[in-house]
Each structure stands twice: as C-alpha cells, then as structure tokens.
C-alpha cells in the first residue's frame, strides 16, 4: 500500500517558508538575530529586516567575519541565523564553520541559501555542490536538507530549539510539497518513508525527493515497486532506515543535487558496506557544470524522473 502523495503541480521556493518561520520565531524570542553578508534580498530577509531592523547584522561582503561574528553573538546569549548563499558560507568560511561554530559548540544556525545548482547559468563558482561533503566531515555539526516548505518550517523550528550548531540547506529551486499527509514533516535524525516498496529503495534528499517519487511511479508501471526515503537529516543519518532498506529491498539508489563523493550517497554507502552490503547506484552532479538553467542542468545530469528510474531499472536488471 502506498501512502505517497501524487506529484503536485504547485511548486515552492523554500526560502519563503524559511523567512516566514524565522519572523515567527523572532517575534517570540528576542534572542533570534539574522546575520548576513549583504544578502538581505537573496536570503529573503527583507520582511525580517523591516520588522526587526536592529536584529539584522549585515557585515557586508565578508563571510569569514560573518561566521565569526555569529559565534560572538552566540557567546553573548543570542541565537544567530547566518543567512548566506551556500557556496560562500561553506566554501569561503569553512574553517570558521569548523572552528568557531562546531568546535566551540555554539548554538548557531548556518543557513546555506540557494544551494546545489540553484544559480544555474551563473556557473560553478556559484554552485554549491560540495557543501554536504565538506560539512559531513565536521564533527558536532548537524546537517539538514529540507525537501519542501513544510519540512523547511519544521527544520527551522528544530534548529532554533536545538541548543547546538546546525547547518540548514535552504532551497531556492522550486519544489512541490512532498510531506503533506505524511504525519510529522520533519523529525531530526529520522528519514521519512514516503512510499513503500520491496524491490529497490530510492534514497533522496532536498530537490530530488519529488523526482524520486515520480520515478517510483514509472518503476511501478514496469512492475518494480520502489521504496522512497526522504533523508532530510544527512548528519546524523537514520542508519536503521538505511539498513532496513538494504535488507528488505536488496538495492539502493541515492539521489542528490551535489557531488557524490562525500555526500548523501557516500553516507548511505558507508552504512550499507558495514552492515548489509547490497548493490547501489549513486546519482549526483559529476563535476563542474556547463552553462544552463537549474532545470536544464538537473536534466543534463540525469537527476530527473527518467534518469532515476533508469538507474533503478539497471540495478534490478
């Protein structure tokens, strides 16, 4: 019995849910501040700034200082949400993320906006396909990738209450709702099993979740019943659900809008090889992208309904 939602036609920019939730939290908690790098617009903070002009700390185009300032604000009792395009937050300020936030254990919420290939034609300098790989290697940092607005809101609320450092990957590329009617939209550290299946498991995160659900439809038409997992918490990974997928479906396809080395696919593979080895296919971005829109590039790299279904069919063949 499949409880999944049919792919919806309406799509959403998760930055909207992010900003609305942040404002709601700020109204209730004077400790909430936004820290950004000249990114009020691109982080969708305009309404926040209008309501809380003193609680936006815009340090200008200076990402290393931005993350250090967030650590200092946390030291001073605030709960900073650092809002910055993911390539620059995680690339430019990686040592600050490691040392100032994770190693210090400061309760700072690092919000990587517009990740993956959101910036399409702007090219690989502005793509953030390495962020999950880099951040997975940092101890004491939760890494969360919401797949739709409902998960985004729930993840932001979790991060606010977490009392420890976290990274939230907040999508710009519009996605349909995938968590409606599925009970709790986001439980930290828990995968959402969106579709039952015994033949193969599609393990997806972020923008790829709705596409995995679409691929499962096509696979069902071919007689392959695919389980679909939405992994919103990359660190810590829901190992029990991965092990169950390996044992019960015998094959796993991972799908992520990022490099495979070190990302979701690698995280799942690490669990599978030491618990219940099964064949896997790891789908992701193979390298620096050519020029193209986000939608074009996702199709170009086979990160779509047809590409995911083909990989799963091949695995079962």
């Amino acid at each position: 019995m499949n409880a999944h939602m049919p792919p919806a036609s309406e799509t959403f920019d998760c930055r909207v849910a992010f900003a609305e939730t942040l404002i709601a939290l700020a109204r209730a908690d004077a400790r909430v501040v936004a820290v950004c790098n000249d990114s009020v617009g691109s982080s969708n903070l305009t309404a926040f700034q209008k309501e809380f002009p003193d609680r936006v700390v815009n340090v200008g185009i200076a990402e290393q200082n931005m993350v250090g300032v967030a650590a200092g604000l946390a030291n001073g009792g605030f709960v900073p949400f650092v809002c910055c395009a993911s390539p620059f937050l995680t690339g430019r300020a990686l040592e600050q993320v490691k040392a100032d936030i994770a190693y210090n254990g400061y309760h700072v919420v690092l919000c990587g906006m517009s990740p993956g290939m959101s910036y399409g034609e702007l090219g690989p300098t502005h793509h953030s396909i390495e962020d999950l790989s880099w951040l997975r290697a940092i101890t004491d940092l939760a890494v969360v990738v919401p797949a739709d607005p409902a998960q985004t809101e729930a993840a932001v609320r979790w991060a606010h209450a977490a009392g420890k450092p976290s990274f939230l990957r907040i999508g710009r590329f519009k996605v349909p709702s995938v968590s409606g009617g599925q009970g709790e939209a986001f439980a930290f550290g828990k995968a959402n099993r969106l579709r039952e299946g015994r033949d193969v498991t599609l393990v997806a995160t972020g923008t790829m979740v709705s596409r995995a659900l679409e691929a499962a439809e096509d696979l069902a038409a071919r007689g392959i019943e695919a389980r679909v997992l939405n992994i919103a918490t990359i660190v810590p990974l829901d190992e029990a659900e991965i092990i169950a997928a390996a044992r019960e479906t015998g094959g796993i396809v991972t799908i992520e809008e990022g490099v495979v080395s070190g990302g979701l696919g690698a995280a799942v593979a690490e669990v599978v090889v030491r618990t219940h080895p099964v064949p896997m296919r790891l789908l992701g971005v193979p390298g620096f992208a050519p020029t193209g829109s986000t939608a074009f590039l996702l199709d170009h790299f086979g990160l779509n309904r047809a590409g995911i279904a083909a990989a799963a069919s091949e695995l079962k063949g």
């Binding site: 300032v69 001073g76 600050q96 100032d100």
Partner: protein
Amino acid sequence: MTLDLTQPPLPSEIAAASRDERARRLKETANAVRRSIVRMIDAARAGHIGGDLSVTDILTTLYFGVLKLDPANPLAADRDRFILSKGHCAAALYSVLALRGFIDPALLDSFMKPLSVLNGHPNRRKVAGVEANTGPLGHGLPIAVGSAIASRLCGGGWRTFVVLGDGEMQEGSNWEAAMAAGHRGLDTLCAIVDRNRLQQGARTEDTNRLDPLPEKWAAFGWEAVEIDGHDHAALYDLFTRPRTGRPLAVIANTLKGKGVSFIEDRVEWHHKVPSADQVALALEELAR
C-alpha cells in the same frame, strides 16, 4: 605545584592601589606567570615560549586589574569577555586563569599531556574562563566583534578584549572584522596587538610588512594607540579610560621572550623548548 605566588592581588586591590604600587604588584604577578609558563613548557617539552612571554604583561594587567569577571560564576551573562586570538599562547592564559582562581593550579602540570583538558590551544568546553576555542589565526577578532555587537544589542554593557599576535594581522579575516567594528563604532571593543615583531619563521617586516600598523587600524575607523606592552601602569590606564565612540586598537610593543635574556627577540625561540640548564637559568632570571 606550578604556581609560586600564593597571594595574587585582587582586582579591587589593584584598582585601589597607587599607580606605583599597582605596577609593582602587577609586575610581581606577571613574573609568577612567567615562571609558571617556563615550568609548564619544561614539563610538556612543548609550547610557544616566545609569544607566551611577550603577552604575559598584557594578560596579567587585564585579568588582575581590568576584566569584570567572577571565577565562581565564569559564565555570568554580563561578564567582560576576553578572547586570546593567538591561541598558541595558551600556557600564558592557563597560568593567568589558575592564578585568578578559574582553574585548579595543579592542572597546569598536565599541560599538553595525553587527555589533559589543557590542550595546546584553549577549549572553552573544557576550561572555565576560556571564551573561545582559538588556534587558527585570524579568528578571535571576528568573534570579539560579534560579542561587542551582542553587548550593544541586549544592553549588557560588557566590554570585549581580544589579543592578537602581530603576525596574525596578515590574515584577511582580521581586516574584515576591523572594518565592521570601525563602521559600527563598537567602543566596548578593545583589540590588543602583541607587537613583538617576530613571527614563526622570521621578522614580520621581512615576511609581509605590517607597518605602519597604527595608521592601518586608524584608517579602519579605530582609535589606535601605541604603548609599551610591558608597562603595567600604562596598560592599566589605557584599558580603564572612558569610552570614545570608537573601538580601541592597542599596538602593544613587546619583546618576544620578554624576561629571559637568551630568549628575548630571537626568532628561533618561537616554539623551541629550553634544556634543563636553560630552564634553571630562566627561572633564576625571572626570580629577580
């Protein structure tokens, strides 16, 4: 027992003392800190002795005369913040924290030993009184800027002091932070540059020139003051003067290895470990 000063002064005593008496007691305390540093590095057979000795008078003046802190409540919300950006000089910080009552002096003997809480760079999650885990250079000033913004935002009123190495000023992140603090007029913030003119491999001016350093800070919107970084009374006066509307940059001219004749101003003593004879000689010089 690494400490041999049984009755370090209380900040209230330093504040009430005459200028000469204040200088005398701070100097006596600083020398005890220096002896502790030498013993810790001798026991660990590792450490950064040159920078520890150059920053000692600054740390002693801050902790015994300036910072509003309560060792019994090290995380009090409105405490003054001190961040040692040059985290490799942890032995100096640990010695001061022990003398000031934040940590058990017996701990100092474990410096850098396996599983000791006293790592070669400080860790706030393990050592009371440490505000930030530092070590990679160019991190302390941005954190201090965040602390000063927090002080203003919540009306806490606390002051934030951060000590940077001069070589560290070659890190770009410091100039990002200096620009932000100047722009915001964060006058509860004081950055002190331990200007000993030596970095690990050579003199700063032969490596990547820093001068004119005060002018650079001033150009970023700070009030920049040059001072003798070993003059306790002058440091005290500067640190306790009224706010001016601008952040304060103190270029503290120091000698790397200050107090030990054969270490002073020698580049090879960045993290060299003294022999037994040299330890004895150093302790003798520091007892005077």
